[in-house]
Symmetry: C2
Amino acid sequence: MGEDPDDDERFMREALAEGRKGLGATSPNPPVGALVVLGGRIVGRGWHARAGEAHAERRAIADAVRQVGADAIRGATLYVTLEPCSTHGRTPPCTDAILESGFARVVVSAQDPNPAHAGAGFGLLREAGIEVRSGVLEPEGRELIRFFARHVLSGMPWVLAKTAATLDGRTTLGPGMSPWISNEAAREDVQAWRRQCDAILVGGETLRRDNPALTLRGRWAEGRVQPWRVVLSQSGDLPRTYRLFQDEHSARTLVHEGISLRESLARLGSLGVAAVMLESGGRLLAHALEQGLVDEVILYLAPILGGGATRLLPVDGIVARLESPEIVTIGDNVRIRGRIAPGAPTA
Amino acid sequence: MGEDPDDDERFMREALAEGRKGLGATSPNPPVGALVVLGGRIVGRGWHARAGEAHAERRAIADAVRQVGADAIRGATLYVTLEPCSTHGRTPPCTDAILESGFARVVVSAQDPNPAHAGAGFGLLREAGIEVRSGVLEPEGRELIRFFARHVLSGMPWVLAKTAATLDGRTTLGPGMSPWISNEAAREDVQAWRRQCDAILVGGETLRRDNPALTLRGRWAEGRVQPWRVVLSQSGDLPRTYRLFQDEHSARTLVHEGISLRESLARLGSLGVAAVMLESGGRLLAHALEQGLVDEVILYLAPILGGGATRLLPVDGIVARLESPEIVTIGDNVRIRGRIAPGAPTA
């Protein structure tokens, strides 16, 4: 019948890996992964690929039916990274599919972050006599849906501020030197994070200085719509000769003129954007931190002291702390990533 | 008779660990470690503790004689991290002791860095029929004597610049906030590096702003003379009320007034100082980098964005790269350490 509860974490880790495949492609829906497990063996896998398409649970069930047949999965265990939906959206509720399939046990990582729905799916399943276990690898499950949770609760997107700097906080090396501070592997790593986001936002200043492409490239672009490229400009004085307006993805470029960053983010939220990568220069980053609009920071540091006059944070007096930062070496670079700790970022 | 050459690295690693015990205490001599190995077993250990006292080889031999007797070590292997001296200094040459003891084999990590002596010890031992192998874990062996090598070859000390900063290169958090940027474990780690140095150098500005103690504390002070505390001041306007002039180690405080950093370092070199930790503020650090006077950087970064106006490197246009940086996490802090890559540090 049900699986050994000791195996729950192992299977949930697999389900989380399935769910991550959808990161960046599912908004405004959350990325979700699911597994069907029968007698200790994974017989079905599924992940949510795109809003409007089948949910992870239905895909895992369909996969299991293909592999072992509908009768065989009666009494099996379903692992799913997020509480199954119990209401009609663009697709019928997943709880229906779970009940029809005859699962004996459902194991979930994170609850539905929407207080209006939280626990409703569990209630329905339990009423039908299904054993439900929730909260398995919950921190990882919540991490997977952090963009969605922010968006569904506030209408605003999650903001990841990404920047690269020298050890003393400079973002350029100076005239006549390489425009790149971080190493090639670190720049490749940026693609993996961009791919998780629905939009990339820069200020007009960055556009004029760097004329960036802000695209997913090579394998990172496979199976993905390019993220929105958003230019926030007070003046709107942006000649249409820049790459963003000329390249094959120009339909994915938005100019937000004469509005605040907060308004720009709200506008993106209403477009269904759940995650924005802020790749701006220092002045806009400082403003975003001051306004409490940054949720998470990804910083690449190169082993260099000194450089040009351009600074990561050109404003004094802001103090924002990263919580439990994740510190990873990428060749001779370091990536430091963490959420901004709660509380006013200003000293 | 001799040991299996495959074991040489393993034993040399042990000898290096012995040698490191002397770091910071042996100047102007190098730290050296030695082992006597007999039939695959370590029967003697020694390290050089202080100039004027017995060298590591003689201490390891004496230890082995105590443990197994003088006759037993005939035909044994001696591991030593640095080529044994062959000339009379304050103590008789170690090659004499090696010959008298009847070793069959001598395994060495680093050659004597002084070209006048390099290889002389090996020649003497080989002439006497001893098998000599050199260059085992040579990078580690050279790392252990980098301070000594700089000093013996140039008369100048090795300079380790140590600093702590936020992720955007600020060295203070600002008014009303903690004076400490790095965490407690990182500040404890600083003690381990100070202990390796013969002197700590700051500018008058740092003295006036922080009134620091610049001492080895607690267990780090055990068995050690405190490093010199050197204040480089153009004006010399340093009221004697500061801790450095008042505490129990005031005899270890030097004021270098009205001279350049280069002159100050030369003066310390002539006092037998082989390693200086530069714990100055940004202006003196920038000057040291510009002048090519920094050999190695140890940087502690705290997971903070923003802070006060005081910067790690307040001068634009200097670009110094760290070679093969060592990146270590200390709780939520990161320590980045590396040598300044050769070449002019200015862009």
